[in-house]
Symmetry: C2
Subunit: 113 residues, 2 copies
């Protein structure tokens, strides 16, 4: 996975554990694609401090994932979900009611997992 | 949900974000059901410090859940899983192959969600 994508996903999951300032810098760097100098100007912070914040946040996010492993669980569930939905499409139902139940089950799997 | 059960679940999810000492005290209190005095003796820590650690850890765990909400997601998924498995039992299959596919889907849902 591309580093930028990985960090974005980790920010979605663990971003709230960072401070507002940290979140802001990470957002400007990874989502708005600004340079260190641009972020430095925008946040009234030295370029070096911006660099340090990004480095520290990456370490924090990796640490959270090492300990909670939610991104890993989400990816595994996504794979399982895809495979289950594929298998469900192969099931031949005996009647209309069963077809409807199966349709609702698919929707529920998509919505909940 | 009983407070003790709630804390146990939060410890399973976020326990690794606590220090080893904090985890140890929480484990002795919530899982081994020891009193503050007993934990105090075992850990060479004052009774007041043990009390403070437990109070602080509860606050930390609640804070993590407020921010990451993994326990909430797990409970919602558990409900959805139960409901989906119940609905799957109502599906009437047209042939043996479909029955087998459905059986494997159920197993996959139980294992993965």
């Amino acid at each position: 996975m591309e580093d930028r994508v990985r960090v974005s996903i980790l920010m979605d999951i663990y971003g709230k554990l960072l401070t507002e300032k940290q979140r802001n810098v990470m957002d400007l760097y990874y989502n708005d694609d600004l340079s260190l100098s641009e972020i430095s100007e925008l946040t009234f912070t030295s370029r070096q401090a911006v660099y340090d914040i990004i480095k520290r946040c990456n370490k924090l996010l990796d640490g959270y994932e090492d300990k909670i492993a939610l991104m890993d669980r989400i990816f595994k569930m996504r794979d399982a979900k895809k495979s289950i939905l594929g298998e469900l499409n192969k099931v031949k139902c005996a009647d209309k009611d069963s077809k409807l139940i199966l349709k609702n089950i698919k929707k529920s799997i998509i919505d909940n997992f």
